[in-house]
Structure formats: C-alpha cells, structure tokens
C-alpha cells in the first residue's frame, strides 16, 4: 500500500567526526545543522571527538558480538540510530575511508540488536535499521576525484553498500563530497559551503514529501 505520510517531522541524526574545532569539515558540520533545522526536522547530534568516543572495539565486545546490545556507554548512540530516518555522516576522508574514530563508531554501535540480528538457525544477518531511509555523507578529500577513483573510493562503498544493507531496502544515498581540498583555493570551498545548507534542507524536506511504500 502506498500512502502519503503525515506531516511528522523528519528525524535526523548527524554524526560529526573531526579532531579540530575549526576548519573546513567543522564549517560543513555547521552548515548541515543549519540545513536540517531549516527543513523543520528534529535533530540529534554526536560530536565524536568532543564526546571522547572510544573507537577501539574491546575483547569483551568481540566475544559477545553476536548477542544483542551495546556497551552501556553506547546506549544513547544505539537509541539514536534506531530513532532516526536520515543519517548524515560528516567527516574528512583519510586513507580513502572514514577516520578511525568514525570507523570505531560503526564497529561498536552498529552491533547485534541495533543494526542487525542473527535469528536462531539462520546463516545470514537480518537487517534491523529499517527506520533509516536516507544516508548522506558530507566529506572532504585531500586528493582529486581521479586519484580517489583509482584508490577505489572505499569510504563511499562502506557507507553505500555495507551500512546501507542494514537500512530500509529503499533507502536513498547522497554523496556530497568535496575533492582536492589540498589544492583548491578558498573560494571553491566557500562555494561548496554556501550551497551545502540549502542542499541538506532540500534532501531532508523532500524525503518527507515522498510517498512511501508501507510494508
């Protein structure tokens, strides 16, 4: 059955990962928040460095990784991930992927009982983040688009293939990347940042107008 959803506000979770309190990605993060608020959406934010997130998966977590649940200090992260319908990741691309801090957030929070379950007797994971209907990446690359293509765009694939496979089957993906940050002049950065808030606002508000397939 296809029906239009009520005008309930979108629920947006923004994960921000950068060690420095200033700079391009920080400015992008501010623009993302402006865009989400302009769309009238509810927003929850995690600033991983400010929260002193621990990215290393522990031996205990590994031993119990097939049992549902996360470490106590990660419960809010897990709840927010189950709450949102749009997930926006804001981070710099390092070594063609997510920084260790953000990779650790994925390793530890996207756990059994949060992102997937393995029912008794099954041999394939069952995705449980059906609430996530939109995945957005806002990232910067030091090198050009060509170099990143040659390196295989691993970070993009991690989000759009691996993470997406745990989300709603019709989840949409948006790649808002800025390439060649090491070489370009500041005016191109400004142009990217100037458009970013409006782009995010459009993505978030359009997603609430789209008819939805109810299952």
């Amino acid at each position: 059955m296809i029906r239009r959803t009520q005008n309930s506000p979108r629920r947006v979770l923004v994960i921000f990962c950068h060690p420095r309190p200033d700079g391009f990605i920080r400015a992008a993060f501010d623009q993302v928040k402006v865009g989400v608020r302009a769309a009238g959406a509810d927003i929850r934010v995690h600033d991983l460095y400010r929260e002193k997130f621990v990215p290393e998966l522990s031996a205990e977590e590994h031993r119990t990784h097939s049992q549902p649940g996360v470490a106590d200090e990660l419960q809010q992260h897990a709840d927010d991930l189950r709450w949102c319908d749009t997930l926006i990741l804001v981070y710099p691309t390092w070594w063609s992927g997510q920084p260790a801090m953000l990779k650790g957030w994925i390793d530890r929070v996207w756990a059994a009982g949060v992102a997937w379950e393995l029912p008794e007797g099954a041999n394939r994971l069952r995705p449980t983040l059906r609430n996530v209907r939109q995945l957005v990446a806002v990232t910067s690359h030091g090198s050009s688009k060509l170099v990143n293509s040659l390196q295989g765009e691993g970070g993009k694939r991690t989000i759009f293939r691996s993470l997406r496979s745990m989300c709603h089957p019709l989840a949409r993906t948006h790649w808002l990347a800025f390439y060649g940050i090491d070489n370009y002049q500041t005016n191109r950065r400004h142009a990217y940042l100037d458009k970013l808030a409006a782009k995010i606002e459009r993505l978030v508000s359009e997603s609430s107008k789209r008819p939805r397939l109810q299952r």
């Binding site: 950068h18 060690p19 420095r20 309190p21 460095y49 997130f53 990215p55 290393e56 998966l57 522990s58 031996a59 977590e61 590994h62 031993r63 390092w94 070594w95 063609s96 992927g97 997510q98 920084p99 260790a100 801090m101 990779k103 650790g104 994925i106 390793d107 996207w110 041999n123 030091g142 090198s143 170099v147 040659l150 390196q151 295989g152 691993g154 970070g155 694939r157 991690t158 293939r161 691996s162 993470l163 496979s165 090491d182 070489n183």
Partner: protein
C-alpha cells in the same frame, strides 16, 4: 629481509592471532627478521588526537614516541604484513588509526609544495601482504568491494610504488568453516610466508 607484521584483533585466542603466529613462524623459518606488532596488546590509540591533527602538515607531525618507533620501523623494513578481521567491509578502527597516525607526511608520503602532488614515501617496501578473515562468503565480500583490501592494496600501494608486489590471503565465511579448513588456511599462510623472497 626485514618484515613487520601488524596485527589488529582484540582477542588473544582469535584465529587472527593464530594466523599472525603462523605467519611470523613462516617468516622466521624463511630466514627473515620479523617484528610482530599486536596493536591491542600495546594499547595503540586509534584516534588521531587534536594536537596530532594540528601538527599533521607541519615539520614534525609525530608527537607520540610509540608512533615514532613504528614510523622508524616502517622506513627500515622491506615487507609489511597486515593481519586483521574485516569488519563492515573495512579495517578495524585500530588498524585504520595506525595508518593515519604512523604514515603521516614525511613517512607514508611527501607533499610536493610546488606541484601540489603527493609522492610515495615507502619506496623501501617490496612486498605488501594482507591476511584477513571475513564473516561473509567470498561472493558477498566481492559485491560490497572489500574496502579494507582496497585501502591496503591500492591507497597504501600508491605510497609504496608500482614495483611493490601485492599479495592477499583471505579466509572467507569464517563462522561456517571447519577446523580442518582453518588449519589448512593457517598452513597455507605459513608456507607462503616461508617462501617469500
């Protein structure tokens, strides 16, 4: 040859640890000089700190003596071996963080100020070897593109140079493998390492 084996698994009784031991044994049997670095055992910090990020583009980007030791080692060796479990099609955070913190400008690569290009810094590395375990079967790993392998075999290889050889050993669908299959894989890895020239 001088070889460094970088191991990234939190559990000492894991198959990755077993593989790292066997790989090290094979390398020693082949007459090589091996240093095994167990990142969890030495409490390696995965996340680049704010101070490290601030120093990244400066004259001395390394602030931690442990990281300095690893950087010196990486510049002195001929072969780099990684042993890790693939999680979310990529490297565990602790190994990703090792790349970020150790292979900084001046070690992993050099910025050419004039052209703005990046030049390889690890031209001493002759062999780049990855050994990984996967929860998923091989076809699925290929479908989602094995991004950890890409990071090491493509992005890191750019820092070494085109003459660097690449080898990959993958143990797929590990949860459904038999003990005999795992033993066979471990023996295969040990043999391959002992035959490395």
């Amino acid at each position: 040859m001088r070889v460094a084996v970088i191991l990234a698994h939190p559990n000492r009784d894991s198959f990755a640890h077993e593989i790292a031991r066997r790989a090290t044994g094979g390398l020693i049997a082949g007459g090589h000089d091996v240093e095994l670095i167990d990142l969890h055992a030495i409490d390696f910090r995965a996340a680049m700190s704010t101070a490290e990020r601030a120093a990244y583009h400066g004259q001395s980007p390394i602030l931690d003596p442990l990281v300095q030791h690893h950087a010196d080692l990486v510049r002195a060796i001929d072969t780099l071996v990684f042993v890790y479990p693939t999680w979310w099609s990529g490297l565990p955070a602790i190994l990703k963080g090792w790349l970020e913190r150790v292979l900084v400008p001046g070690v992993g690569f050099h910025f050419d100020e004039r052209s703005g290009k990046v030049r390889p810094g690890l031209t001493n590395i002759r062999h780049l070897i990855g050994i990984s375990t996967y929860g998923s079967p091989r076809w699925y790993v290929r479908a989602v593109n094995d991004n950890g392998r890409r990071t090491l075999m493509r992005a890191l290889r750019v820092s070494c140079g085109l003459r660097t050889s690449r080898r990959w050993h993958g143990m797929y669908a590990i949860d459904t493998t038999t003990e005999a299959e795992r033993a066979e894989f471990a023996a295969h890895v040990e043999r391959a390492m002992s035959e490395l020239r």
